[in-house]
Amino acid sequence: MKHQRERSLLGLALLALSASACVGGSLSGDPMGTGAGSTPGAGSGPTADAGTSSGGTSTMAPPLGFNCKPGTVDPGPAPMKVLSRSQYLNTVRDLVGTVPGIETELGVNSNASAFGLVQPDLAQVDLENYRNAAIKAGSAVVGNAAQLAALAPCADNAVKRDCAKAFVQSFASKAYRAPVTDAADIELHLSKLYDVGAKVSHAHGIEILIQGILQAPRFLYRVEIGTGEKVSEAAIKLSGYEMATRLAFSLWDTVPDAKLTGLAASGELSTKAGVVAQLPWMLQDPKGKTAVRRFVENWLHLPDLDRSVKDTTLYPQWNATLRGSMRTQASTFIDDVLANQGGKLNALLTSQTVFVNKDLGGYYGTTGGDAFTQAAGNTAPTSGILTLPAFLSLMSKPAESSPIYRGKFVREMMLCQLLPAPPANIPKPPEVTPGSSTRERLAQHEVSPACSGCHRLMDPIGFGFENYDSLGKYRAQDGNASVDASGELTSTGEIDGKFNGVVELGQKLAQSETVRQCLARQWFRFALARFEQSVDDCSMKGLVDSFETAGADLNTLPQAVVESDAFQYRHPLDYEASK
């Protein structure tokens, strides 16, 4: 089962290479295969099917079509997910208010994959972290009399245990995203949690209740049971509360609020039309306004910026303030594209708009103030997200740029093509001349046949970014030489060809149907926290078609995915077993 879950990741397009593309080293002697099953999990996705038939051609782009039989309703799998770090933190904030220090208690969680697509099973350390965070949350509530009274009101003459019971019903219902009504369940909370704490005091009993509820599997995992209402052999409807939860986590990154829960209770979310009708107000809500921006930020891996390491001898300015400014600059730009530039993918990739403050003014030949303002007279070539210092710093080495990381990002995250792994036994690399530029050093990849097969898919794209150093600042020189930012796109389908510098690269990418489709795929993964598969072809087709129809306006993505079968329904619980 677990293995299948891993295998199911491969709705992704893997770049199939010719036998000569990645030669040398691998034990099999035929490193990436000649098209015979070179895609892991072949057959599990549309792209994989196409990949296996491409033997002999040098490379391939993912196919753009979807195999959707009209009338088919298959929502695809919906594996149980543990709350992401941000979902956890937002939820706790919505449940109990601000908890100082809770992020530290959670430890340095692994941010396994960009959208939480791969989740390892929870280890003891994880549970200890959750426990410590829950303790922090409990003590924050109990340490604040007003907060305690608001969450767990109890009149002076009331029976304390009755107050605790009312607290379980209100608090746990919100935490578990479903009404807690079962008498035995409530009693379990009281006997195992409240009663042991109440030996010390009533407030301490409430504290232990909070601790326990915030560690409960029902809280930590997103559990869906569904209803008995079948839509097709493969699909059942979700309960109103489950739908509210999907909406809230997808659009808000947190639990449903009172209004949404009320709508679930009154049955408003039992039809597709009813669900879609909630989008306008949910996206207008402060939590929803940032949904698309959050997606773009995660897509670019920007939340990892604080973990990015730089050589502070070369870059003494690399500190939390600068990183914070880079993040704010990025979010300001993305918001501007979404609000003022039609939300267009084209603008996201090519816009000349730049926001600066005093930390970043130097990047653009200006000074900048305390607050971010739009930079006038920007002298550095600019191309939307592709030249954001936050993004370029992430896609760099500690002391130098990285054409590999940058090219790899374009290949994998913007074109949705997966690169083959480097071979196990590579021949000795050629010697490197000291003092050479990054580009010169990487040029060995082109000379060595063992390297070139894979690196020619990354480096020539990444070279286009060479005008930007390890901190994403424009430069005309690298080492002793002028920067050569000429690059080439290959194996992309319609945008293949040479280009010079990132501005031209941005224009090419913005014209690409492959990139538009990739973005829609990424949104699907973000919104549903799973990879698309062949059974999702109808959902994907609907999503891609509406994105195209809207002229690649990112603001239309939320509704497009909410309308899909993948979002509206789930498999019956016994579906996998029945196959």
Binding site: H3, G33, V108, S113, P120, I225, P398, A424, I426
Partner: protein
């Protein structure tokens, strides 16, 4: 409690507190503890417990400076430049050449696997295989030449913890120093498929984990224990209910969750003993490049202390993640380790730096061996005599990405099970066999195979005493 009970001055561990029952056992250990400490709480009549410590360092080695020359096997060990800092311990040291991580490229039949069956780049495959004798699952991690997921089976430290870790506060502890970057570069310890034990690389967090609540009174601690136990009961009950309602394919996740809850219960029921080192230095940025040696030192101290205090018998320590881009400015290496490791064999300058890096790592092992040796067991032996330290790497050499000739070191007395002080030269043996030998040396003679069955052919020959 009788205040006149004797105090063991060698360790400043209070026997009074040991006998005082649950909650009363907050024990101060003088720091530095290493001046001939005695293993805490050990029974003088029983033979000392065997211990396993797994060590990882990254990016391969420089073979000619690591392994001794000549083809002799079972010959007295002779230390080259890299291992020279271990000279004082060479009687309790063994190097093994010709032991390859075939499990990264072979299938259950012991045949070369198709590439798509072995996902991940070489730097990713190595840490996943090093202690598991397995390989990576398919997945979406692409940081280092993916795509791949986590490893597909249990690692040897966790196997051992499953057999000897039931009575200690922690079945095992996973330490790291600056383990960064993409998964699965950051993991060598696995409870099972897709069950990584991601190491804690913040010594202050580890300190909290190991020595939490040391400042509470016995009454407070007893109440805390009761509450924690009751919360865990609640969580177990919740899992049981939930498991009855969800789809079958989701149930393994809850089983894994429940197993982790059981470990926490074990931690509670064995927490009567806690040692507290007196001081931790002021908190520093554990992710800062230049703090690597300080963080490493603290993690080594905490790890050894956890063993000495009887809080665990199994641990691993990762010195940086696989594919490490750590700099070593304190020894004059101001370049990325990984970048350096790609230098050609004739690049004398780069190779000299790589040798320096590896020498530094040998010094760390020497430090740990010094401390373990200074720790007396109740039965008169020292803790090093009873420990088996396995030091491995994700690659044999960085510039060829080879999985062959991993620079394996076995250190410690291994309870007398292995004939130490020798260099072993094998003809293309799978490292699975080494993992079998490790299990056997730890006292589990029933282990005949480890990791991918077809790859493993039984224990390595000629190792045992």
């Amino acid at each position: 409690m009788n205040p006149k009970q004797p105090i063991d001055h060698r360790t400043a561990l209070s026997r009074r507190k040991l006998l005082g029952g649950l909650g009363a056992l907050t024990v101060a250990v003088t720091s530095p503890i290493w001046r001939t400490a005695t293993v805490f709480g050990a029974d003088t009549k029983a033979p000392a417990a065997r211990r396993f410590i797994g060590l990882f360092s990254a990016n391969g080695t420089i073979q000619k400076d690591f392994f001794q020359a000549g083809n002799g096997s079972g010959v007295p060990i002779s230390l080259g430049r890299i291992l020279a800092p271990l000279e004082a311990h060479k009687a309790q040291l063994m190097t093994l050449k010709g032991v390859h991580m075939y499990s990264t490229v072979q299938n259950v039949l012991g045949k070369d696997a198709a590439v798509e069956e072995k996902p991940g780049g070489p730097h990713m495959k190595g840490p996943g295989a090093m202690l598991t004798g397995g390989s990576l699952q398919a997945g979406s991690f692409t940081g280092s030449g993916g795509p791949a997921g986590y490893a597909d089976r249990v690692s040897v430290d966790q196997y051992i913890a499953g057999r000897i870790g039931k009575t200690t506060k922690f079945p095992s502890l996973e330490f790291g120093a600056r383990i960064e970057g993409q998964e699965p570069l950051r993991v060598v310890s696995y409870r099972g498929a897709n069950q990584p034990n991601i190491a804690v690389d913040d010594p202050w967090q580890m300190y909290q984990r190991i020595f939490a609540n040391a400042d509470l009174s016995s009454t407070q601690l007893a109440q805390l224990m009761t509450e924690r136990k009751s919360v865990l009961d609640f969580l177990s009950a919740d899992i049981t209910t939930l498991k009855g309602r969800i789809a079958n394919e989701d149930k393994p996740r809850l089983d894994a969750h429940l197993a982790s809850i059981r470990s926490m219960e074990q931690e509670l029921s064995n927490s009567a003993v806690s040692c507290t080192p007196l001081t931790m230095p002021a908190k520093m940025d554990v992710r800062a490049m230049e703090n690597f040696p300080t963080v490493s030192k603290l993690q080594m101290d905490l790890m050894l202390l956890a063993h000495i205090c009887g809080l665990t018998s199994v641990s691993t320590l990762m010195f940086a993640n696989a594919d490490s881009w750590q700099y070593y400015p304190w020894i004059g290496v101001n370049e990325e380790h990984h970048e350096l490791s790609h230098a050609g064999d004739n690049d004398a300058v780069a190779n000299e730096k790589l040798v320096k890096i590896n020498i530094w790592h040998s010094q760390q092992l020497a430090y740990m061996m010094d401390k373990l040796k200074a720790t007396k067991e109740a039965d008169g032996t020292n803790m090093l005599d009873n420990s088996l330290i396995l030091w491995g790497n994700e690659l044999g050499a960085g510039n060829s990405h080879t999985f062959k000739d991993i620079p394996w070191v076995i250190a410690g007395g291994a309870g007398g099970a292995l004939q130490m002080g020798r260099h072993m030269q094998y003809q293309d043996q799978p490292h699975n066999n080494l993992l079998v030998s490790v299990c056997n040396a730890m006292g589990f003679d029933d282990v005949k195979t480890f990791g991918i069955p077809g790859v493993c052919t039984g224990p390595l020959s000629g190792l045992t005493a």
